[in-house]
Symmetry: C2
Subunit: 366 residues, 2 copies
């Protein structure tokens, strides 16, 4: 698997609107499933009986699954956290369920994905230091239990570092989790509404503890501007629903920033939205047609925009990969960030959609 890589989000076993062939065509190398979603619906036993998640969704490339820890703390209604595990109510039907470190390993073994994640406790953005410390400690104990329970030799298990926005807790968590010797490490619990500088400051606190010869994965982060920031800090893997979600809202990535395809200026534009782009959408249709589909709320609009944004990220990754090889990353980063306009509105919305306020619970996060 080439890195750096971006994982399109397929929480429910589908990258919204797309078929596997389109993902391949886009250049996607690895996708992200979600244990919480698939456990609730259709159930991990159903997927196991049907031959595992790859076969179920028709994707033969690598799949990484998140453990569901984040979703339990963000999407579900939380009931109880104990050292044993977490009890929650489904966001779908309110039914009560239980996750333990051992269960999330068993669930992910049933899904048969290539990379599993440990169960973590993800604190809310304004939780107290004491509360976050508790989460850090519990996340570490859970990580150890996940590791002990993991037996499938064909599945990797990555550890997750927490610590909220507290430097010393991030460092402690990184030390504790890396001492357990996972084949890859993720930084979790960021980009949840904190200021961007805080996000990168926490990444900076953590990175020195992560071995350079193992994948380093920044969870839930994946806008173009954040990807370049992350890679310049040594991050190898990213996932985020942002590129596909904003696509469905009509925001298309270009090197100049997101363009709102609904704008009247596109009504008669003969060329594609992004003249530099080689995606199916830009090769095939005018910006005018895409504008029309969005104005009419035609379902095809969401699909064509999703293809474009995912392809933009793949192309960006490749450009960055080349810049790294040629030793020109710093210059590219500077150029890119000076060109790529991010409005305050975009920053604000991205945060809002992640985590409205603590204590927690935002619907429609996936």
């Amino acid at each position: 698997m080439p890195t750096p890589a971006f994982l399109p989000v397929a929480s429910q076993g589908t990258v919204k609107t797309l078929i596997p062939e389109e993902l391949k065509d886009i250049g996607t190398t690895i996708i992200l499933g979600n244990t919480y979603h698939l456990y609730l619906r259709p159930g991990v036993d159903v997927i196991e009986r049907l031959g595992g998640l790859h076969k179920y969704m028709g994707w033969d490339g690598p799949i990484l699954t998140d453990s569901g820890g984040y979703q339990v703390f963000s999407l579900a209604r939380l009931c109880r956290i104990t050292d044993d595990g977490v009890t929650f109510r489904s966001h779908i039907d309110g039914s009560e369920h239980n996750l333990t470190p051992e269960l999330v390993i068993e669930f992910q073994q049933k899904l048969g994905t290539d990379v599993m994640m440990t169960l973590d406790e993800c604190p809310a953005i304004n939780d107290s230091r004491a509360k976050v410390r508790e989460a850090v400690d519990r996340t570490c104990r859970w990580a150890e239990r996940c590791l002990n329970h993991h037996q499938s030799s064909d599945q990797l298990l990555f550890g997750i570092i927490q610590g909220g926005v507290f430097s010393e807790l991030r460092q402690e968590s990184a030390q504790a989790i890396t001492s357990l010797d996972f084949p890859g490490y993720a930084i979790g619990g960021l980009s949840l509404g904190e200021a961007k500088e805080q996000t990168w400051s926490m990444v900076d606190e953590t990175m020195p503890f992560l071995p350079q010869d193992k994948p380093r994965y920044l969870m839930g982060v994946g806008s173009p501007e954040d990807i370049i920031q992350g890679i310049s800090r040594g991050i190898d893997l990213f996932d985020s629903a942002l590129p596909t979600r904003v696509a469905r809202n009509g925001a298309l990535f270009t090197m100049q920033g997101r363009q709102n395809i609904r704008k009247a200026a596109y009504k008669a534009q003969e060329g594609p939205v992004d003249a530099d782009c080689d995606c199916y959408t830009c090769r095939t249709f005018s910006a005018a047609y895409l504008h029309h589909l969005f104005k009419c709320e035609e379902l095809l609009a969401y699909r064509l925009a999703t293809i474009h944004n995912l392809r933009f990220i793949v192309r960006l990754m490749r450009i960055i990969g080349n810049a790294i090889q040629q030793g020109t990353l710093a210059a590219f980063k500077k150029d890119f960030l000076s060109q790529y306009q991010v409005t305050d509105e975009e920053t604000r919305l991205a945060q809002k959609q992640k985590w409205l306020k603590s204590p927690r619970r935002l619907k429609d996060i996936s």
Copy 2:
């Protein structure tokens, strides 16, 4: 263009959820655009400037456009009908517009479609005989004006027969319209809520007047059970939003009738919904996966179901074509109709969705 053929509905310049390559793969040979929709949004001038409807939507096969007559009488808010034309308010923004026979020809010339339709007046299902007679007479005068105004040699213009559910008016309309010598004839104003027997009785009254060497097109009809009924009466062309609309509701065609993919029975079904089907969906995914996508309201569900239903119609057309050549159509029709279960609910809903009641005006018809 091989007949019999079914025209998937692409009123707004897109067969909902699909790209042109998928339509080709399904075996679609011709599609239906709509002058009313495209005139209102994005405007026929925009499409003309961008090279015509084929280029705009990326479809290089034949396109037939309805004149918009039906939509003015069903979807828009009607203001005035005079001999000159019809004034209506847009269903989108309430703005006032005017259609005349000459204008619909000019609009369709700008769209550059392969087959144009005349402007017709489509009476409601319980309009009086006097009212329907008036519509028949006006439709005929308008047809003549369309014919006189039509100048593009690379576009065919088909005439439309009206007459409501009155036998002698259907006959009169058929005689009058066929006397104008169009290269093809459509039967309009049926399947709008009248009993099925009445639909077929009106078709039976009309068919003897239509030349056998010209395409005969039954507008707005296209369920599997109606297609076999229509073809056995000599109909060559069908269009209907029903196959794609019911697909998006989770109703998938099989030789045994529509199957509701949301049913719990499909939750763990390893095989496809329809074991006989060679469509992309049935070749690639289990019924269980499609069931899951529908339960999760994933956008991919609507696309995969649309592919299946359109492919079912194409395969049905081919089977019927073979039966005609082998002289076994009557036997096939009997077999098919005895196997293919249509529930009363389906019949009722299909009618309701078409034309709730007179006087007119149903939203979301397209």
